[in-house]
Symmetry: C2
Subunit: 331 residues, 2 copies
Amino acid sequence: MQVDAAMVESILNGDRRILARAITLVESTRADHRAQAVELIDRLTQKGRSALRIGLSGTPGVGKSTFTESFGMMLVEQGLKVAVLAVDPSSKRSGGSILGDKTRMDNLSRHPNAFIRPSPSSAALGGVARRTREAITLCEAAGFDVVLVETVGVGQSEVMVADMTDLFLLLLAPAGGDELQGVKRGIMEIADLILVNKADGDLKPTAVRTCADYAGALRLLRKRPQDPKGFPKAMTVSALEEEGLEQVWSEIRTLTDWRKEDGAFDANRARQAEIWFQDEIRRGILAQLDQDEALQKLQSELREKVTNGSLSPDAAAAEVLLALKSSNQVG
Amino acid sequence: MQVDAAMVESILNGDRRILARAITLVESTRADHRAQAVELIDRLTQKGRSALRIGLSGTPGVGKSTFTESFGMMLVEQGLKVAVLAVDPSSKRSGGSILGDKTRMDNLSRHPNAFIRPSPSSAALGGVARRTREAITLCEAAGFDVVLVETVGVGQSEVMVADMTDLFLLLLAPAGGDELQGVKRGIMEIADLILVNKADGDLKPTAVRTCADYAGALRLLRKRPQDPKGFPKAMTVSALEEEGLEQVWSEIRTLTDWRKEDGAFDANRARQAEIWFQDEIRRGILAQLDQDEALQKLQSELREKVTNGSLSPDAAAAEVLLALKSSNQVG
């Protein structure tokens, strides 16, 4: 794949086929692909296009796909262009099921104003972060208005997604009050909107009660000074019956407008760009270690001494660092 | 502080004053101290002395200090030498309170066969890991039989402690069944023994019930193939009334003996040494970035372009990596 003016132009024109190929390029770990990806991302960054980046998290079974389908359809029917990216660091095990089953988003996946990209089937968390950040940039350049970044609620992935989006939605199922504490405090703290899904049929009263419980819990958390009164907020929705979705979008816009006026929106993006910058520096340095054959050989020799206890890990590491310096001097 | 034969000898002879000074040395981040620490650790590692390394975790209020006092006293009264190290990555905020209040371990802290070292008042998680690993090595060289590494139950610190100890105790308070899920699954999975404390007075029936609940939860978790039948195990203890402590020690020895015979004990230590080795390599490479003034200046210039959106983080990182290579070539 050649990164040339024609490719850049195609992406800027919103060509879905080229966009999909560009995302495949940024997912690749091959050195030549990487160089092309960096060039492509840099050329597109300079165009300065931007979408609203929304993070969405929820455990399996909470109705994430149904919500994405309903919420996404509502947005595209308003004339907005919507891209959906999936982040699933666990997909190595699960075989990349998140959004992989596109039939669960039948209408959205076929809509001309929508673009859905499932999670790649194997990637480390660090690789997922890079790939997703770059895919967001590609989607923004392709003219999407909203980029929805969806993740399952496992470990670090929610914090990672929150670090690359403008606001964060947490989707929850109706539940007894006892289960409230099952939601990690850290996740409650990054959520801007808590959406209690399945507020329909028999579950509706439970959903309303659960929502009130979460609203109470949110009041206990320290309010973020940069947010308007009432945020973070808990709401009920029914993705199945498409209820409450317009209100979710209205709250999202209220919060976004407030943050833009306040300067918090841009400050957050600048902070995220810096996190990305630092991450890439670290990743690049560590990659050097993995690519140098002599260093790999030295490490494996030292590893043997370290594991049999004849050399301290500290001293062994010092040897590797010295060799790394020398290898740079020669190369 | 000079790392010389006399200092090494003093530590090997169990001189507490020199041991305390050596731990202060490994806690220092100054470059010259670091070089001395690496040399000292390497010389002591070669002596091959080893203690049983026990990790202990529990949330504040669960009775960790009381347990450490009672359990430690029982061990020293059997003639064993016991070192207690505290790990508290949050102590930057809390002012290093963990074990800082030695009056809570009045008897143990005054006992000639015990050595207690509070958590330093400020350190990043990475720094805490290095400091604690090295402090363990120092205590082993000083002839301690048991090194108890105590941590509060916050975030990653438990996993970190589990990665540097031979077995892991989780101390819990008696609680209603509803609160069971408050314990993160990940922590349940690293615990070898779950100890429900405060099994005394009015709380005793609750403690017994809580213990049964945890025992049930443990059965649901996948059994580790390298462990004997019945492990991981849940037990009740009363640190206050010094009840159940002998049985805890007996279970620890059963599990340790089994693992030693099986080879799992040594395999685990080898794995931990390798983790330490890799951590130190990474840390060393990243430290290079922070120490080079020209690189710092370049980073701050690029950071400005990155945060105002005129340069992609990827491209900026590539520039830093190139400069790092050149700086190595010159230096």
